[in-house]
Amino acid sequence: MFDVSIEGIQTLGLLIPALPLAGAISCALLGCFHFGKWAPVAAGSGVLGGFMTALAVALSVSHAHEPITGTYGTWFSIGNDAVGWEFRIDALAGAMTAMVTFISLWIVIFSAGYMHDDPGEGRYFALVSLFVAAMAVLILAGNLFVLFLGWEGVGVCSYLLVGYWYAKPEAAAAARKAFLVTRLGDIALLGAMILLGCHLGTLNLAYEKVFSSPLDPQVVFFSLVLLLIGAVGKSAQFPLHVWLPDAMEGPTPVSALIHAATMVTAGVYLLARFFPGMTGTSMDVPRLEAVASVQDIAGGLGAATAFLAAVMAVGQWDLKRVLAYSTLSQLGYMFMALAVSGDVRDEHTPLEVSSMAAFAAIFHLLTHAFFKALLFLSSGSVMHAMGHVIDMRKFSGLAKILPITHGCFLIGALALAGVPPLSGFFSKDEILIVLYEGGHSDSQRSAYFSILFWIALFTAFLTAYYTFRAYFLTFQGQLKIPREAGDHAHESPAVMTVPLVVLAACALLVGLLLGPTGSLHHFLEGTANWKLHESTFQISQPMILGTVAALTGIGLAWLLFSRRDRLSKPLGALETAAEARLYIDDIYLAVFVRPLATAGRAMGWFDRDLFQPLVELLATIPRMIGGRFRSVQNGLIQFYALAMALGLIVILAMFTVAR
């Protein structure tokens, strides 16, 4: 679309993270010199610059079928091996960066209103900008080292932002939990890098090299498993999902930025790069089998997360936590989509099947980013009006006083539930179709994919149910306002409602514009290592089933919550268990945290009460010997002089005798 030279694209690609980084630095400086109220302007212009360049890059790479590699110098070198600052710019990276910077831009604008008059404004906006820069580095990275830099960068920014109100013990604990749990995944990612580096015999872990090198199927399997664990940590999938709901302690725009649109999608992005890439074009059956078995694991974890998180969301009373669990659930969807693998017997090549699966995951990632950011920001607007109360039992009927927020939340909720023709419908549908087709292929795994399909369908029903449960509890019924809101409960200022409206428009239209028109499909065809086969939009069985599931869920929520006793638990014990997060956190506490704490206390006892006295016993010996001679130091100059003179005489005498 744009005609920009390769050098031009390389320069623009560098600017995508550089401009938000410059914004971050200026925000930090402004904050230091007490000009914090100007920080939103600096952050906004940095992110806006990032968005403009990302858009230009996305539009100009859309037709280049070769990925554009930009090398901006050497990062470090060991021996003859050098790791470069490598970016790889292709259609997928362009689409992702454009989405991330666009949503971040509106979140920064929303934050300008939400964080108004907060004493730490400079710090907040500096961290948000830095986060955007790190995310851009993660997406644009051309080798695993640069990816790791971005990966850790978003991790540390997320830690700092979740713990932004560090004086609040829950926020500090949540930040620590998020950091430590994602760290488990990060170690696995590092392990994958080490494994690949050892087997390739080089530090040059550019994607292209990893994908095209001949590797032992076992190495392929284990490196992908490690990458999957990394992705599971970052994207908060089943065994490591516990950090995300707690991370809601951060400011709400941070939840929208990190836990909806950007950081948690990093894992999906990584796998969308590596599953088709590792499949490769060659028909090396053991290698295909290795990749496919990792994909099976991903699908299982995704299905478990999608279903369990949806169940947990059903019992939550905290509006933001409902959204957090729905994020987990939707990320589980993306993992399920990524699980679909091909077989050499299929109509399409394995690469084509994996690419279509990755495409479905990325499509859902993009639309999900819009409507989930919208939902989080709407809940932020509710919190703003309700004096930072977010418990849905304490307010209701807010549609009357928050009309704009209500409208935007409703659009977001419909999109999340997957009601046609909103964006969530098309992307969720794409995932259902991929799973459905996987279930009806000749592949050995078709039965497995069918199970995944039915889980996805049931989760779609649950999604619609809990989303509209939250909607009815918050916005419908009798008007009720908590005491904390005071008498000034009112709609948020324009600086907060405009981003809501913009994101609502996107949530309405993005799916329609990108999905059935085939424009995203066409755009992402240029992605390196992907091979998408033609697909046309048509009404199909999974689509109808998905819509029916969504409408049933909404209907059930309407039946249960629009009129009856609002605080009842219509599903009984299930809801009690769901409210307690299916006891998974308690199990972790009992199985990992408590034993570790006990072991720590035992170690402490050993150290303090066993080794310490032993060491002190050793120390008493020199102290006793020293004590004998301490009286020599009596402070009398003449005593010292005499001692010196006598010492001299003794030495001289010794010399004389020795001769």
Binding site: R630, S631, Q633, N634, G635, L636, I637, Q638, A641, L642, A645
Partner: protein
């Protein structure tokens, strides 16, 4: 007349050094102790000169030049310190300064301490440079 030989010089310098050492150890008056130290230094200096003379090179002489310079500096410092110490305790008795002993030791006290200096009027304080000294009140003129 016998011209003095090296051992004569060495004997004199040894006597000087020993007198200084004994003086330093036996006397308690800070000024006398300081003078004893000077005596020891001079004994050493005489040693240097004597060796320079009888070995026929100037190395020892050069050392003595340095020694004299340092002795001059040392005298200036030591006398200033002694003055300051005298001002704080009104006495030149070295045994009054035992503060650097081990914490748990008793202070050693003398049976016959040096007599304290008679109380004198406080020394005049000089004003800061550049400020005119306050004039004494003029007697009333009638």
């Amino acid at each position: 007349m016998v011209s003095p030989d090296l051992p004569h010089f060495l004997a004199v310098s040894a006597v000087l050094f020993s007198l200084g050492l004994v003086g330093f150890i036996a006397r308690r008056n800070l000024i006398i102790m300081f003078l004893s130290v000077e005596l020891m230094v001079q004994g050493v200096a005489l040693n240097f000169v004597a060796f320079a003379r009888f070995r026929g090179n100037l190395d020892g002489q050069a050392f003595v030049l340095f020694l004299l310079t340092i002795a001059a500096c040392e005298a200036a410092l030591a006398l200033a310190l002694i003055l300051a110490m005298y001002r704080t305790r009104s006495s030149l008795d070295v045994s009054l300064w035992q503060d650097l002993r081990e914490e748990d030791l008793e202070q050693v006290t003398d049976d016959e301490p040096l007599p304290l200096a008679p109380a004198t009027a406080p020394l005049p304080q000089l004003p800061l440079a550049g400020i005119a000294p306050a004039k004494p009140e003029e007697p009333n003129r009638v």
